[in-house]
Symmetry: C2
Subunit: 340 residues, 2 copies
């Protein structure tokens, strides 16, 4: 079906295009009778104002872009949920792209969003990314930009994060407080900042408690999956049968560990205590219920959008905006899997 | 930062705007030397072709809209994941909106997407929606449109669905085959077509096996939550202590049932067998592992996008398109919670 234009409405009613346009915008210098006639016909013909034309005038697209590593992930779906709702409340639409942890794809997606003239970009980095050129480009072009969760420390943009070092430190301290002496860390990949920080937090907790660090007790995930949890659990118990605690980079991996230990009859927490990270929904319904670190995903989405909104508003008015970092609180959630 | 225009590049290089435009589009009548100079300067100045202008010319936005009831839902995140990836492969961006099961919000969102001139709309209905005016409007305006999973039977558009009646019939037959004689159905709300169909499937399975239908054994969820599963489990065991099987509308509710029964020591499946629907990830890691119906969520996303793409391509060429319905296969996944 062809789009209806102002001209067609004008011709049908025998009035000028300007009058039609003014009537639709409720200008006071158009009679109520004409306004009613225009609105009635416009509705009948399914007239829609051309939003691309509007865009050329206001220079706003009222659309933001969101790039995340993966949609199918408990933490990120929570964040998306909060961002979409918050954007909607403020009249913005959200284009969502997933990098699938690939730097190449993420670069292409930044390009796409810039070409689409989104008003702002929210982003959580892929495992392969850092302060790369495509990130720098967003800042250089002065496009409102907020990074959250998986960020680049070097990039001069706003950030919404948790203190991963402190959160990991507390998780490991919790295991130690519950009697663990030989603690494995199943860490994330080598590149992402949050995996590095959680690893540092683990080391610091050992140091503080005078437990010698042993690099053989650190296992590194490639893809941070349930299956890696299962495989590492098997390897850990073969290589270090006397391990009594495991701190996993995220609940999904910890659930893999639980699943394997349940299957082969290793008692949790009696023989090995386990703690995850992120407080995935399923953690509370497992047997035993999984201890974890609560990461405020909803709040992270809300804060990220609102920080972006602030910058977009400054941008619109050509006002300066100084990027800032919002640090959100975390908390250890102690459940059956770690309480000896 | 102000956007760079073709005019500025032209002035800086002392050539015409037409030549700049042709150079960027690699026209053969522009010399290689000029092309190189234009491209080099455009890159240096971060020139981006104005995509709104492009839109006015091609009448395409290369953007589609996706409206779903909720993002934070295992089934829907799977579908979103597939749709985003499939769209990306085909050069489309996806705007995602969630209706939060509200008809009013869904109506507003359809309006927004139409005003945004998306090239097509994918939609799974809220629990409150049916063949309402806003749905009819999409069809009347000839906007490419595919409904999936939660659909309106009356709407004349393409659909990607499963056979909910058959799938539910098979789930209940599975319970009967495993010795269940008094089976409760925890159903979804009264309005959504898939909840109605699963309820009909439940009744048909009883009928086929000469088990009298008893409306007191049907419990109706309002919001289809984990907590409702817990609450109904309590109510069921108080009102009908001799129930030996439960078929829940979705895994999330079944997990609530499992959780409550585990807590109070009711043996699953020995005393009560339980089967859910949708095969959520967590179902396989629970104790006992939850039986369920596998619903091809990824395939549903892929099929929905490709059906939409076909219609968008026809639309672009002003060719007729006849809507069609794609029916995807389901399968009962028998795990510990139902194998007596």
């Amino acid at each position: 079906m062809k789009d209806i234009t102002l001209k067609e409405i004008a011709i049908k009613l025998g009035i000028s295009i300007t009058t039609v346009s003014k009537a639709l915008k409720n200008y006071p210098d158009v009679s109520q009778k004409t306004k009613s006639a225009v609105i009635e016909l416009a509705q009948k013909l399914h007239y829609t104002p051309n939003s691309f034309a509007v865009n050329l005038r206001t220079k706003e697209s009222k659309t933001i872009g969101l790039i995340i590593p993966e949609v199918m992930h408990h933490f990120f779906s929570n964040v998306i949920n909060a961002i979409i709702d918050e954007a909607e409340k403020n009249g913005y639409l959200v284009i969502i792209l997933q990098s699938n942890e690939s730097l190449a794809l993420e670069k292409k997606q930044v390009e796409l969003l810039i070409n689409k003239r989104v008003d702002g970009i929210l982003m959580s980095l892929s495992n392969e990314s850092n302060n790369d050129e495509h990130i720098q480009q967003i800042v250089d072009r002065n496009i409102p930009f907020v990074m959250f969760d998986k960020i680049s420390k070097l990039c001069k943009c706003s950030k919404v994060i948790i203190d991963d070092q402190k959160a990991a430190f507390n998780a490991v301290q919790h295991l130690i407080d519950n009697g663990c002496k030989k603690i494995v860390h199943i860490r994330g990949p080598l590149n992402p900042q949050n995996a590095i920080d959680r690893y540092i937090g683990y080391k610091k907790a050992l140091e503080k408690n005078n437990i010698p660090f042993d690099s053989k007790l650190v296992y590194t995930c490639e893809n941070v999956t349930f299956q890696e949890g299962i495989d590492f659990a098997k390897q850990i118990i073969e290589e270090h049968p006397d391990v009594d605690g495991i701190f996993a980079i995220t609940d999904l991996v910890a659930v893999g560990v639980l699943s394997y230990f349940n299957d082969i009859g290793i008692k949790i927490p009696e023989q090995v205590a386990v703690i995850g990270f992120s407080n995935w929904f399923m953690s509370q319904v497992l047997t035993p219920k999984l201890s974890t670190v609560d990461q405020p995903s909803h709040e992270m989405g809300v804060e990220s959008f609102n920080l972006l909104l602030e910058q977009m508003n400054c941008h619109k008015l050509d006002q300066p905006f100084v990027p800032r970092t919002v640090l959100l609180e975390t908390a250890v959630i102690a459940r059956e899997s770690s309480l000896k």
